[in-house]
């Protein structure tokens, strides 16, 4: 049996998405900036996708810019807004638990002379709102907080942060990386007072190579890349029309029956969690339980074993998951998120993340619950660390 439980990393492209894209590879392959009919057809498709995506987050179509992925959306939003508002201040606030696609950008901004403060999180991964209040000063121009933590599933209090920012005396732009929450947790850029938000198609059964940046009208921003003309001033280069169309179809599929899809994932999540806790000893859940956890995320450390070994044994059994282990990185440091929530490194090395999609089934979860205890048991048998050691 093949069970793919790494949907937080990337997803299989849905058949309907492929069908939607195919005509744009062949008959409708025009370049959308050209006035002839092939070009206009392509431009129409791009506009229609703007409408589809805008609707899912309560934005206006013109506020949707297509990029090559959430990485580029994050880079463009954060550096673009920072550079454009440099004269107003050089202070930016983010969190310790952001995705590398935000952290690497913040590090670049630090080299460029910006001051970045990183919010702490509690043991379940929630940011500290009081700390945010205290850190804000008249030089603060931007706050960037992820919506759902991609590793441990924590749903951050975006609406509350938006409210805090709205109540400041001067405008502080609010960017949200929603790559892990889009199509899993409801988003409303108005209610949440979001100015810029990043999403990615390949996390929602759309194609790789396309993402979007929601950018509130009149938000001052500078481009970060330069080049060939495009429908989007902030994103030079030929528009990836087929992928954009596929993104739109993927969003339609996810949001037609959003509640049902989410409920399905939540049930599987709870089934997997209950099964793990029942069948395997010495486990530790990372992230919160219940409604404040992404319906698609399960993350446990299996003590006394190392994550990469678990991952590869599951892979040999047809099951794909991710690990917080860092045995294999150059730095030999475990996940910065697990460290930030206070997990001891020896425990973090045994962390396994399972991420669900609406296409997963109860049978798949049952299969995992059959294989996983055996894998953990076998690895513990060959581990020099004895139960109770930590």
């Amino acid at each position: 049996m093949k069970v793919y439980l790494d949907n937080g990393t990337t997803t299989q492209v849905a058949e309907e998405v492929i069908d939607a894209m195919l005509p744009y590879f062949t008959e409708k392959f025009g370049h959308p900036i050209f006035v002839y009919s092939l070009g206009q057809e392509a431009a129409d498709a791009v506009e229609k996708t703007q409408e589809i995506i805008a609707k899912t987050i309560n934005a206006k179509p013109g506020e949707i810019i297509f990029t090559s992925g959430a990485t580029e959306s994050n880079d463009l939003a954060i550096r673009g807004i920072a550079y454009a508002n440099r004269e107003k201040g050089n202070h930016i606030i983010t969190t310790r638990v952001e995705n590398p696609s935000v952290l690497r950008v913040c590090e670049k901004l630090e080299r460029d002379g910006f001051r970045i403060d990183y919010l702490d999180v509690d043991p379940q991964g929630f940011v500290n709102l009081d700390q945010l209040q205290n850190l804000i000063n008249e030089k603060t121009i931007l706050v960037s907080v992820m919506h759902v933590n991609d590793e441990i599933g924590t749903i951050e209090p975006i609406k509350e942060i938006g409210k805090i920012l709205r109540e400041q005396k001067h405008k502080i732009y609010f960017h949200v990386n929603a790559a892990a929450s889009y199509a899993r947790v409801p988003i409303d850029v108005e209610r949440m007072s979001i100015d810029a938000m990043s999403i990615s198609a390949h996390k929602i059964h759309g194609p790789k190579g396309v993402g979007a940046l929601y950018l509130r009208e009149n938000t001052p921003i500078e481009p970060i890349t330069y080049g060939y003309i495009s429908l989007f001033k902030l994103k030079p280069g030929t528009e990836n029309v087929p992928a954009i169309v596929g993104f739109g179809k993927a969003a339609e599929l996810a949001f037609d029956g959003f509640e049902k899809n989410v409920e399905h994932m939540r049930k599987l999540r709870d089934k997997l969690m209950a099964g793990i806790e029942e069948k395997i000893q010495h486990v530790m859940l990372h992230g919160p339980r219940g409604d404040k956890r992404s319906p698609a995320n399960v993350n446990y450390s299996f003590k006394y074993v190392e994550g990469e070994s678990v991952l590869l044994h599951l892979d040999l059994n047809g099951i794909s998951v991710a690990t917080g282990s860092a045995c294999s990185t150059r730095k030999l440091e475990p996940s910065h998120v697990l460290t930030a929530i206070g997990v001891k490194p020896e425990v973090a090395h045994g962390a396994i993340r399972f991420t669900l999609s609406r296409y997963n089934t109860a049978e798949e979860i049952e299969y995992v619950l059959e294989v996983l205890p055996r894998v953990i048991d076998n690895l513990r048998k060959i581990s020099p660390i004895k139960p109770g050691a930590f």
């Binding site: 995705n99 190392e306 581990s383």
Partner: protein, 141 residues
């Protein structure tokens, strides 16, 4: 949960590694080992314990335990295989290069796993020598 690989050749396992990971050899604890050594630690994410049974300066049995990745388990297997039947002197000459090439090569990022198995072996041999020095004189090179 991104593990920060950046270069492809750094992470690809050979068939030999996967095979030994799937069916590791010489895992477990030993009854009455001559010597047992542990290297690495759980905080850093890899740890190995190795036990040797030595008779007349010859390694007659070797076993290991691993808290670590696939490369770790595979190198533990290959090192214990390679030293079995060797004299202690011969075993001491085993190099990291030999270990790695017996596995068909290791991804660059995983070389530290080979080093760990090598260190654990060295430590076990050293302890064995120390024990013996306390008894009778032994050659040290």
């Amino acid at each position: 949960m991104p593990v920060e690989y950046t270069e492809r050749s750094l992470l690809k396992y050979t068939q030999q590694v996967i095979e030994l990971f799937r069916n590791p050899k010489n895992v477990g604890e030993m009854e009455n080992p001559t010597v047992t050594a542990t290297e690495g630690d759980a905080q850093c994410g890899d740890m190995m314990q190795m036990s040797l049974k030595i008779e007349n300066d010859k390694i007659v049995d070797a076993k290991f335990l691993s808290f670590g990745c696939a490369a770790n388990i595979a190198t533990g297997s290959i090192v214990t295989e390679l030293v079995k039947g060797k004299t202690v002197d011969e075993a001491e000459k085993l190099s990291i290069k030999e270990i790695s090439s017996a596995l068909g090569g290791l991804p660059a990022l995983k070389m530290h796993c080979a080093v760990l198995a090598y260190k654990t072996l060295k430590k076990a041999i050293q302890e064995y020598r120390q024990k013996n020095v306390e008894g009778e004189k032994q050659p040290h090179t």
